[in-house]
Symmetry: C2
Subunit: 399 residues, 2 copies
């Protein structure tokens, strides 16, 4: 199941990238050559860009069986597989990706890389600045979804993959999917954007921006310079609040009612919970999710990636959304979730409408689920069925 | 239009309250007698409770034309009328309440009091503690919607109003409306709850709790003790963030798209807004609303009133929601707003379903509006029509 990478240590002339691949635990590290700085949408450039990725399955002779999975905001490369060192939880899309699954790793060579700007090994604000070896922190330049995708393209080059059989992802992963198809229309044969959008809406920006404001207010954030602080002296309160806001938008009113209702979370109550600081069970749940995130995610990465999502607009610099979307001519399976309040189904419908004429296999499916936005992670059976059918139709059409 | 209060200075035997009414500017102050402490749901009690209220119109001979308006979270008693000292903006329900309006002040004697726990003159965390004259701050006990309503009942007693012709309010005002009808079924002849709920949902609690967490994180909140700090040294960042969260839930995705879309808010951009700290217009709007609130509202009051809303559950201590709602046998006009994401229309339907058999004039109206929850403040024409029709039907039925 591990990728045996034949390019290790080989300069890859086409992009000037140098793959210094090596494996640590189960992960592979990919480093761009410093000869060609990686220029970002902001105009800034990065040296020594590293992407950490995982692979499953084997790339075939003609490199035609590669599928790229793109992860969401606080996701990572660990799409499938058991918990392991560096991945305290099993793969986030077990049930969709794996041997015999919809994205069948017996058949496809599956790749997922941690995004640029993140904190799971790929270059981001926690990485050492080449000048002084100290973390970039706020010296890290703003990144966009396009920057993430261009970095992935260099990785694809180095893996010898010219064209992806499919690029698949939900939420921010879906934004990358769209940017792949628009930036590199000849390098994708099909795409599956899920619970995402062609441009972030004002409400999405508002939620993201408020979370960032909360994080910035934490005095321990210290203008982004907290890496040398004691472990308990990071901006964890601020990051937790940002996460709590997101967590509510990831779920639904109905689901919260079912799970928590008006249950109080402590048992030793006086006066029926009528105290300013008594808590309901749903607050306990939010605390849990806030606490879980601060143990695994960097606060500055949260800022940078959140901003990248706010900046997501496939039309920027391309003459508008319609012109950008017209570049997508490959089969496109768009999946929306009916209860999603963060990336509402109407956004998937808009996405689909803008490409539906472009290929006969292009289709839209709205999944019925009580899980809200998180349905893209939870409803693996429904999503698998749709992806399976789509990949099968592609195969039929090409045979 | 000003209330000439005939009870000023008269002890009101029925409740043991002493009305020390006097007018400052256009407002009236009402103080409970200290002989009878005001006991709260939490078990704590308050001495020297003050309610500040405004009135419009004239109470008739048989005291049968009194209508109580209940305000929402950061609202106040200034329902109608021009901007004036202490009220920098015109009445928040101009167009619904006034001479010749749906709630016609030529006909009705209209009362609105600032809620207990607030910061507009009624007793709250900013008020002097009777022991030492310093602000209560966190020494203030938790208050509930029922506490607010019981205080209003004492005010009604002192005004000589035994029975309200109607009690009307939206959002937290609607919670008070329900508590009036359930706590004092013989003291209301009709009610109009708007965009509210019979019990706060887990999602509503979540939004409220996250806002409070943000406020508590502000180091200048200082455990609630900021009243002697310099004017710019209050917990304004935290309060603004709490308000921003609320503001998004008050509006809608569609409306935000129409108003702001993806407009950037500054004009001197480099690189298309691709910077961690560049802002979109919607962020500017949120800043504006955060900033506006911190200039007019007390941070601790925001905590206490928010908690009161989370604690809202008409069934608490009454054998459940159904039993509580069965006490409402008066004509009830429930108004929901189709685009409301904070108090979704299904909550108004539940409310209506629980009382619909109880009176033939009881009805439910769902208003179509793009304004979301704030529609209860903005859609004055539509709301006026419904209230007019309802009050007219009551009159017809009783004539």
């Amino acid at each position: 199941m591990r990728n045996t990478n034949q390019h290790t240590g080989t300069p890859y002339a086409a992009t000037g990238a140098w793959l210094q691949g090596h494996e640590v635990g189960h992960r592979s590290f990919f480093t761009f050559a410093i000869q060609r700085p990686f220029t970002l949408d902001s105009g800034a450039s990065l040296r020594d860009v590293t992407l950490v990725y995982e692979t499953w399955g084997t790339l075939n002779e003609d490199q035609s069986n590669a599928i790229l999975i793109c992860h969401a905001w606080t996701g990572d490369s660990h799409v499938a597989g058991e918990a392991e060192q560096g991945h305290p939880t099993p793969g986030w899309w077990e049930g969709v990706v794996g041997p015999g699954q919809a994205v069948d790793t017996n058949k496809y060579f599956v790749v997922c890389s941690n995004v640029l700007g993140g904190c799971q090994g790929s270059t981001g604000p926690t990485s050492p600045h080449p000048d002084d070896g100290a973390p970039y922190a706020l010296r890290f330049p703003a990144v966009t979804i396009r920057d993430m995708v261009r970095a992935q393209a260099w990785l694809a080059d180095s893996l010898g993959i010219n064209t992806w059989h499919s690029v698949i992802g939900g939420s921010m992963g879906g934004m990358q999917v769209l940017e792949w198809a628009i930036t590199y229309p000849l390098r994708v044969k099909s795409i599956v954007p899920i619970a995402t959008c062609i441009e972030s809406s004002a409400q999405q920006i508002a939620w993201g921006a408020i979370g960032r404001r909360a994080l910035l207010m934490d005095p321990l954030w210290n203008n982004g310079d907290y890496y040398s602080a004691a472990p308990d002296q990071g901006p964890w309160h601020g990051l937790a609040i940002a996460r709590m806001i997101a967590q509510v938008t990831f779920r639904t009113d109905n689901r919260f009612n079912e799970k928590f209702g008006r249950e109080l979370c402590d048992t030793n109550f006086h006066s029926d919970g009528v105290d300013l600081f008594d808590r309901f069970e749903v607050e306990n749940y939010l605390d849990y999710h806030g606490d879980k995130l601060i143990r695994r995610f960097d606060a500055n990465s949260y800022l940078y990636i959140g901003k990248a999502m706010d900046l997501h607009d496939v039309g920027r610099g391309r003459g508008g959304v319609s012109r950008a979307m017209s570049r997508i001519t490959v089969p496109t399976l768009t999946i929306g979730i009916d209860s999603d309040i963060l990336y509402p189904a109407y956004q998937q419908e808009l996405l689909h409408e803008s490409v539906r004429q472009n290929h006969p296999l292009t289709r839209y499916v709205q999944i019925s689920s009580p899980e809200g936005h998180d349905g893209f992670l939870i409803e693996t059976a429904k999503i698998s069925t749709e992806i399976s059918n789509f990949l099968f139709a592609l195969e039929e059409a090409s045979s």
